[in-house]
């Protein structure tokens, strides 16, 4: 890789957010628009009050101009998050959350708090979830070995978070293992 070491570590959260904004989300438009071709595909037509699925970046753009209402995804509701949190606390594995839940929920809570019900509760639940999951991924350190690491249902932001350290640690483990085996040979 040609990048200097300092830049090589990991993707930044804003970058992940950018990636996540390619995801489709449902909106209720307030303006009418024909089906329009974008680089990422054709979206629309916008016909209020019909719901349409458009990429998150477009929804953000329209929302900031007050040209649409965003329909909160099913998982961004108190009940779902509460059950996830319960699962998180009671079960060993990670709960089934959308892969980019952290990015999407952050964006939506930032730009469209008025379209989401009981935002405060959701915010605190998300924080709890994040902490619970973080604790679990820390526990995962125990199982760290040089070969593989399987953490199903881990989300992009969390992977991103642990990646630099885990990769490094696994590298070291591999190194140690190799040393051991060479010693054996000797």
């Amino acid at each position: 890789m040609s990048l200097p070491q300092s830049l090589r570590s990991s993707v930044t959260p804003p970058e992940l957010e950018l990636v996540a904004s390619q995801q489709l989300i449902e909106i209720i438009p307030l303006i009418a628009m024909e089906k329009t071709a974008f680089i990422s595909g054709a979206f629309g037509p916008l016909q209020p009050p019909r719901k349409t699925k458009i990429p998150l970046w477009m929804a953000i753009n329209l929302k900031l101009k007050k040209k649409c209402h965003i329909v909160a995804p099913e998982w961004l509701a108190v009940e779902f998050l509460q059950s996830c949190l319960d699962e998180e606390l009671n079960q060993p594995g990670f709960s089934m959350l959308p892969f980019r839940y952290a990015e999407v929920s952050k964006v939506l809570l930032d730009i469209a708090p008025d379209d989401i019900q009981s935002t405060d509760k959701i915010r605190s639940l998300l924080k709890d979830l994040r902490e619970a999951r973080q604790a679990k991924s820390r526990e995962g350190l125990d199982q760290l070995n040089r070969g593989e690491l399987s953490l199903s249902n881990l989300c992009s932001l969390e992977i991103n978070e642990i990646r630099p350290f885990f990769v490094h640690a696994m590298g070291i483990l591999t190194h140690l293992h190799r040393d051991a085996s060479t010693e054996d040979q000797l």
Binding site: I28, L30, I31, A32, Q47, P48, R50, E79, Q82
Partner: protein
Amino acid sequence: MSHPSIIARKAHSDGHTCLTFSADGTHAFTGGSDCAVRIWKVAEGAEQEPGNATEAEQPVTALAASDDCWLSGSEDGCVRRYIKNKDELHGDVTEEAALSVRCIALDEQGTRLAVTSDNPSAKIIDMENTIKLTMLHGHRHNVRRATWRPKSSILSTCASDGEIILWDLSSEEPMILHTMNGIIPPVTDPSSPEFLHDCSAIWHPSGEQFYVISKTHDVICISSNNWVQSGKFVDKEVVGPTTALAISPNGAYLATACQSTVYIWTTDKRQVIAKQSANPNTVITQVAFSPKEHLIAWTDSSGNFVRWREPIPLNLPNSVKRLLTATTTTSKSGSGIPKGVDLFGEDNGLSLDDLAAFEELNDPTGGDEEGIDFNIDDADFVIDDVGGYLEDQTTKSRAKDDGLVKEMVSITKAQPAFQSGSTPFQTNKRYLAYNMLGVIEATRSEQEEYNVVSVDFFDKSARKSYHFNDTHKCHYAYLGERGALFASDTLVLYKPYGSWTTSQNDWTYSLKKENTRVLGICAGGMTPSRSFKNNSDTDLMGFGNVVLATSEGHLIFLSGTGRERRILALGGDFVTMVAGDEWVLVVYRAGATTIDGSQSLCYKLYYFDDLSVRQRDELPIPKGHTLKWIGITQEGAPVIYDSAGLIHLVAKHRVPHHATWVCILDTNLLERRVGKDESYWPIGITGSTFMCLILKGRQEHPGFPRPLVQELPLRMPFNTQNEKEEVVERELLFKELAMESLNGDELMTDDILSKERAIDKEFVVLIQGACKEDNVNRAVELTKLLHNLQTFDIVAKIADFYHLVGFKEKVMVLKQVREDSEDRFEAAREKRRRWNKIDTRPQRLPDVDVNGANSRPRAFQDFGPPPAIHRPGLTRATPSVEGTKYSSSTSEPPAKDTWSDPLAPSTNFTVSEKRKRNDFEDIEMESQSDISTPMPPPKQKANPFARKPAVEANKNPFARKAGNKTILQSESFFEKVDAAETTPAKSKKKSNNLAVKTKEKDKAEKEGPRQQTLFGLFGANQNGNQKGSAKRKTGLTPPDEPESQASDVTMADASQIETQHDGWEETQLIEDKS
């Protein structure tokens, strides 16, 4: 009121408290962490000294009372029995081995007691013989609460892990009916604050459902039919965990405690009707309704005992009076539940609906609500025609419902007029109109002087939302494509959507006659193609059309600018109407409702342009149901929704008198409806989606703030389960609708093509399925329905794949047939035209037009008119010609007149004037008049035979044929002809022409010498002109005299003069020919 409505009293020390009423409701028992039970006389105030029962050694956790005793359970593990309403201990019922009793529950008869303690198995104790125990093993965690289902031997127990088990205890051996997990929150630690929250299943007195506090701290309703959640009690105001709940003895109200406030809900509509805040920062641990009195009591975690008298607002039936119809929708299915009639009070049998309707009808000024509240549910819909709203009426209708007595006396209440998409006032707001374009809301001002009307569009880019103060208090509004319409009783205001300066186009219209009211309004018009911000479109398309229905039975049609067009009589009671692009659909009741419950509603579809009725038919509403909503789909077809939950669409509404009703959705069969108690409030239909608001429970109108518009897929309620087939048929229906709306010459649109392609794809799948099942006949049938030729090839491939050689051959034959037959789009267009022919024919009626239409093409297709451009060139002949041309053009108008005016004098006059000139000028003038009015030549054709009688006898419009003039003029012309005849060129005239000519010649000869003088001159001219004209004719009509063609060759490079002369020479020739 002798007592204050709230009586609070400190009863116990801080901690968990419990509460129960004695069976007769005279005493209340409270227990608390101070190990005592206090016995309160309900009738006495706060100052009373309660009785004490202090036998318990640990905090009292549970209380129960029956007809002959009361019981207390304590953390010391004892359940003690006391003598009725007294503090005398009767004895211990049972003793748990040092485990805290958490709940005790007596069944209705007071014979069995359920006891739960910190132990996974609950106990059933026979009260007659307290040694007789039944243990209920099934829970894995400590059982916290137990409740009996009324009128049955079903016990529900709630454990600390969140499990609910329903036990059937009718037999000796307890049976687990059902286990539910994850509904109530798991709380294991008795010291945690959540442990104070009630987790028991509170049964509705009918036993059809129970209410429980869910994990999310909401109160949910679980139906006993299938044990799934059927509803939820949600309100904006109620936030935070619910800690206790109780149901009123009649089952109409539910009390919940949340954040130190007690809320009272109606169980049918799930709306908060009253609330009372208690001591802040305390947790209300138990709420109870008095079994016999209109009273609620509760105890909280700081030991207070509070009574609230008459908690239910006075306008609603109170908590103890038995309601007949206030059970839930499932009441019919709940078997074994007696629906006996209790005659308690005056308004005993009154349902909430009836009450509302009653109030409205009794309120003469209540125009605001009138015509809105038509949603009276079928149970109360049949009314007695003699009695009013008293109980005997309800008993009758109830009896009818039970199928015991055949209802004979009552008639069906007629559905009042209403506007689709409007609601009555809810507190101070209401919807006046709600459709696919937007919403009109009215908000009452504080002093009720005016309403604030706000018009809000979904598509903010097309139209601008606005609001205004409405001093007339409009109670009708309609949101049309081209303007918003408002109406109070007599005044109508139309606000077309215009530019930013909106008000300048507004107009008002008022009914002058006394005692006439507006019953319904609507405004239709073409959907604007583009934004309203640029005026171009609006200016041309106008503001649509406005229709008012009045109480006189009239429909007043107005133009979009307020011009009164026509008043039509409807001939029935107006119910509602809706306007589309070019029509208005009016629903009315032609006669009376029928005895068996039918509303007998009909509709008429009027076209705006000619105000004709294109469709008239009955509305397909089942008996006992009413029309709830009427609207139009985005494609422009009318749709209705009735109280039975069906949506019907008018197909073929453009074909006069051939419309059909198609059922496109049965909301009762919706998948999402399963296990939920909800109804739908339609807004519109777009493509194959049904846009609606979802109403929870028995809510009838959407509330505020505006709920989200939900999209439900349409599905024709086919009985066969094959979904694909339903999809294909539905898509075909919509394609047909799209085809019908094509105008005149259009064959198809891209949209239709893509629709067809999609349908073909579905067909291919179906054909494949049929092939798989070896059902060749089905496959052939489907193949016949295919649209595109290419699809046949695909089908042939499928046939190949399944080795169906015979089918493949058939496909190829079908393909061949399709290839050979007429293009299907053209056939469809032809059919559309045929359908509409009835309408187009009358436009061709007038005779005059027929004449003109016939004569015109014949003349000029045969000979071709000289283009007017050539005329100025005539000046080239001589200076004198130019002068004459000028003079001739001045004399043109009179010449023209002769066509329409058959009177001879004027024509004679012009002719005589002409005669003064030389022939050359004369001819020129003639030709000019011919050019300007292309009529004469054919008439001349006819004329040779009828000339003289036409002039003299036929002085009727038919004789106005210009023949008169030409013939008169031709006197001079034929003189020239005479001269021409001397030349050999003229010898070829047809015989009939000659006949005329000879006549005219005779006439001309009488004129004598004057023509002779000009003869030579003309003859020379004539010769040249003849050639020129011949040349011209070759261009237009090939079959001509070869002789002139020959001369044409010689004149190939003829000068301008010659060609210029063509102009008039040609007409000359025509005359010659004739």
